[in-house]
């Protein structure tokens, strides 16, 4: 029961990761790409949750916690970079 749903979860979440990569590649502006990066970080947290279930090693939850913190800091930094105009970007 649980093995089957873990396999299905891996498949669905990989599909979501693929769709986010599509937006990361074709995103017309820099903030769109930042949104895609944020989504990829959230999906990676979900990936870590599924892997914790399938491997039984609870130490991976620390990784998920640190990843959530880092993704938030990256989003704040990107927003500041975009607002203050720290480089060329496509509108």
């Amino acid at each position: 029961m649980l093995e089957i749903s873990i396999t299905i979860a891996y498949f669905i979440i990989s599909l979501a990761l693929l769709l986010s990569f599509v937006r990361l590649v074709i995103g017309p502006s820099l903030p769109d790409r930042v949104v895609a990066l944020e989504m990829i970080a959230t999906i990676t947290i979900g990936y870590i949750a599924v892997y914790t279930l399938s491997s039984g090693k609870t130490a991976f939850l620390d990784v998920a916690m640190v990843l959530a913190l880092t993704a938030f800091l990256a989003a704040v930094g990107f927003a500041r970079l975009v607002t203050k105009g720290g480089g060329a970007h496509v509108d």
């Binding site: 979860a9 669905i12 944020e38 609870t58 998920a64 927003a79």
Partner: protein, 132 residues
Amino acid sequence: MTEILVSLFLLIGCGFMLIAALGLVRMPDLPMRLHATTKAGALGAGLMVIAVGLYFFGDVGVAARSAAIIIFIVLTAPIAAHLIGRAGYFVGVPMWSETVKDELKGQYDTHEQVLLSPAKGDKDAEEQSDRS
């Protein structure tokens, strides 16, 4: 019983994650994309982490870490979305061509990033906006 509950939370969380990714690809506009990813993505990740906490039920360390992850996601996702949307609006990312109303248009000085609407003394604020 526990396995059924864990599978249910895991699959519902995955579904919300997929919906968020679909919205990220299909929505026509930066604020709409933010709307899709922030709400559905945070809910999906939270449900999946709840599934982990249920699977290791009784382990206090896992429960505490799961609760910390969920609280952190729920606290930081709206802040990050607000910052990105604000930056995108100031940079001038084009909105959807069928957008009905833009309430913020003309309310902000996009260079100084301060609100133009005066609290009191209309003349001073108008002079300032004329000067800039």
